[in-house]
């Protein structure tokens, strides 16, 4: 089976079957890489350009490892987000990159829609590594992969996403994915951090965090950026922790086998307390390693690979 899109710009355009195809591919890659030989050079001779116009150590490293395991040639291209008054325009950056004839461009950019803009203006396939607060599809895929692996299913679950919903690049992709797969998605956080009319995305909003996590199968905590306090989204980090921090006591409200997730980097003592982050329910570090398998699958599919041709 072949991936039928040229790009991976987001989860929204994908259907259930396509999502499962990527997750299945990642499962095979994870198994392939479980031994000592982690090299699977399906992308030998392909040039992958990592264009990070916004800082991201984790996503970038994860993509790089995936690319290396697949044997691709890699070029890292850092550029600061453009402005109209100084520096090169985004469009000119894209055209310059196009001349380097990459097969795939992986991009992180602060502006929503920038991945589409890139894809519209370049021949290469585009893997969106986060376009502002819009989509971050590989994060949602690795989250889904982790949930499926830990709980054995990816449907009919109660999944809570909590914290800074408004500014999160992780939320929207996760909402698209988890609702498509038939889960009950509940968002929790102060109303200042929950964008208006988000219920229209087939989710529930419960501002009372204790109520929200009652009997949840999964709780995903989002990173709180400390500067949000200065913008009056909440009065203090301490108060945020009191109302929305995931503590040991709160974790007891989850289902018996419920898991705790976080896209990282975590703020200990803000959205998540140490004893929870390091506790038995936490799958935070597994998310990180699963990210590599997901990105291998995505890059493999974007390069035209077929999942059923992968052999153990």
């Amino acid at each position: 089976m072949q991936y039928k899109h040229k790009n991976l710009l987001g989860i929204e355009p994908l259907d259930k079957v396509e999502i499962e195809q990527i997750l299945d591919g990642a499962k095979i890659f994870k198994e392939l890489c479980a031994g000592n030989n982690k090299k699977f050079p399906a992308l030998r001779g392909k040039l992958i350009l990592n264009l990070f116009m916004e800082n991201s150590t984790r996503t970038r490293s994860s993509f790089e490892i995936a690319e290396k395991r697949l044997g691709a040639d890699i070029l890292n291209f850092s550029a600061s987000a453009s402005s109209l008054t100084k520096g090169e325009s985004f469009y000119d950056t894209i055209k310059t990159l196009e001349s380097m004839e990459p097969h795939i461009v992986v991009m992180r950019h602060s502006s929503p829609g920038s991945a589409k803009f890139l894809a519209d203006n370049i021949d290469a396939s585009v893997a969106n590594a986060g376009d502002g607060p819009h989509e971050h599809p590989t994060q949602a895929l690795l989250d889904a992969f982790t949930i499926r692996e830990k709980l054995g299913t990816l449907t009919g679950l109660k999944i809570v996403i909590a914290g800074d919903i408004a500014h999160s690049r992780v939320t929207r992709s996760n909402i698209f994915l988890l609702t498509k797969m038939g889960n009950d998605v509940v968002l929790s956080g102060p109303a200042t951090l929950i964008p208006r009319e988000i219920e229209g995305m087939n989710v529930r909003v419960e501002t009372d965090f204790d109520k929200a996590i009652e009997d949840a199968d999964v709780v995903m905590m989002l990173r709180i950026q400390k500067e949000r306090q200065k913008e009056s989204f909440f009065p203090s980090l301490e108060e945020f922790n009191m109302l929305y921090g995931l503590s040991r006591e709160r974790v007891k409200r989850l289902k018996k086998n419920g898991i705790v997730m976080h896209p990282g980097p975590i703020n200990r003592g803000v959205e998540i307390n140490s004893e929870v982050a390091d506790g038995p329910r936490s799958v935070i570090l597994e998310q990180v390693s699963n990210g590599i398998s997901i990105r291998m699958a995505v890059l493999y599919l974007l390069a035209g690979g077929k999942i059923n041709e992968l052999t153990h």
Binding site: L84, P112, S114, F117, P133, H134, R169, R196, G200
Partner: protein, 431 residues
């Protein structure tokens, strides 16, 4: 030169004309309006059979960018663009560089427009010096040079105190204060309307309440001062209702809506096309439908384009740093006819009022157009010609339009001002 407009359906809400007539124009003046005028002695005949002939269309809200941003538009290209779109008179908003806050810039703008010799340009002076919101601009001197209104457009009038004084001061001249209603602390960093769509796309939203708060402040102050408040580019249903109630109370409040707010809703943003980025933003469908009701019931006085040219590179970029605004002269008539006339059954007379006679009154033009003995000032349009909008045919220097390649029913045909006769051409005819 003699020009005969033959068999056009003449609609002039001011004189009450509403029937098929011929119009003879001699040396730029209307000589005769009657049936079956003789065409054997004229130099040129425009066969207007099946077309509407109206007093020249007037755009009460446009940015012509000169001085300061001639890469986007000049007086000459702007005036040609206006006539190519069917407008014979347009305003020039004061957010130029330097700002049109003094008589010298007003004189420069008028002179450049006259030299171009296409559409008539009526400058709008700034309310405050440099539109900075601190001190009143030289309004009296600018009135002497011919401004028709005052506005800090691009910004709202900064404070209640300044607004009060500007309204009081404007009483002396009887001109409207045109308000850009945007409460800036609620729209900082925002690019589109705040609602489900902005949430889904992860774009920062401008809530309608940012408009409503300023409209409300302005109506309250205008009621107190008893001046003339004109709300520019209205887009919120709640604001529309406030204007409706102010009018019911007999207060002097007028307002306008743009063709794009009548035509699009915020779902268009799903394309991330920067040509859907403007202020105020295109709103949700309920707001759009409310605007159409406002046109029908007379709450909205006129349709104004907010023509806002920008150089290519200011739109061909990331959506959250692109320039706000779109060009509007050359798509207004197709957009309005397609939406209002064909889809929402707004009568042609009402459309002519909103695009010609009402804006003419708002900018203080005499009620003497399309009458025998007066200078020719005529717009001819077709309600039934379908065109596919082609920006390469535009006379504007800029191309920032969301109407590109749209098939619209209705088109501008001719714009006539004095001896200047422009055959409009904004898209490919569909057979």
């Amino acid at each position: 030169m003699n020009l005969l407009i033959k068999n056009g359906h003449v609609i002039n809400p001011d004189s009450g004309l509403d029937k098929v007539l011929d119009i003879l124009i001699v040396d730029g003046r209307v000589e005769q309006i009657d049936v079956n005028l003789d065409e054997s002695t004229v130099d040129k005949v425009i066969d207007a059979t099946g077309m509407i002939v109206a007093p020249g269309f007037v755009d009460a809200h446009a940015h012509l960018r000169e001085p300061g941003n001639e890469r986007a538009e000049t007086m000459e290209s702007g005036c040609k663009s206006a006539m190519n779109g069917g407008f014979t008179t347009v305003t020039a908003m004061p957010n130029t560089n330097p700002c049109m806050d003094n008589a010298a810039i007003v004189a420069l703008v008028r002179e450049k427009a006259q030299r171009a010799g296409y559409a008539k340009v009526c400058p709008v002076g700034a309310v405050s010096k440099s539109r900075a919101g601190h001190e009143l601009a030289a309004i009296g001197e600018m009135v002497q040079e011919g401004i028709v209104a005052i506005s800090d457009d691009g910004n709202p009038v900064a404070t209640s105190e300044l607004l009060r004084k500007a309204l009081e001061y404007s009483l002396l001249f009887g001109i409207p204060l045109m308000e850009h209603a945007e409460e800036l602390t609620l729209t900082r960093g925002a690019v589109m309307n705040e609602d489900f769509m902005s949430t889904k796309l992860g774009l920062k939203g401008m809530p309608t309440v940012a408009e409503d708060i300023i409209v409300s402040r302005d109506i309250i102050l205008n009621r107190y001062v008893k001046a003339w408040l004109h709300i520019s580019h209205l887009s919120s249903a709640y604001s529309l209702d406030m204007v409706r109630r102010a009018k019911d109370r007999g207060e002097h409040v007028t307002t306008e809506v743009t063709p794009h707010h009548l035509f699009f809703n915020d779902t268009a943003l799903e394309t991330f096309d920067t040509n859907f980025i403007m202020k105020p933003p295109i709103r949700i469908e309920a707001d759009r439908l409310a605007m159409i009701e406002g046109v029908k019931d007379g709450t909205i006085d006129c349709i104004a384009t907010d023509h806002a040219p920008h150089p290519h590179e200011h739109k061909k970029c990331e959506i959250d740093i692109c320039a706000f605004g779109i060009i509007g002269f050359e798509t207004a008539i197709p957009a309005v006819l397609d939406s209002l006339y064909h889809q929402h059954n707004v009568p042609l007379k009402r459309i002519v009022e909103c695009m010609s006679t009402n804006p003419a009154k708002i900018i203080g033009m005499k009620d003497d157009r399309l009458r025998v003995g007066k200078k020719a000032d005529i717009t001819i349009f077709s309600t039934d010609r379908e065109i596919v909008i082609d920006p390469e045919k535009f006379k504007s220097r800029s191309r920032n339009t969301p109407f590109k390649c749209l098939k619209l029913k209705g088109s501008p045909e001719y714009a006539i001002r004095g001896t200047r006769v422009v055959k409009c051409d904004v898209g490919e005819s569909q057979v």
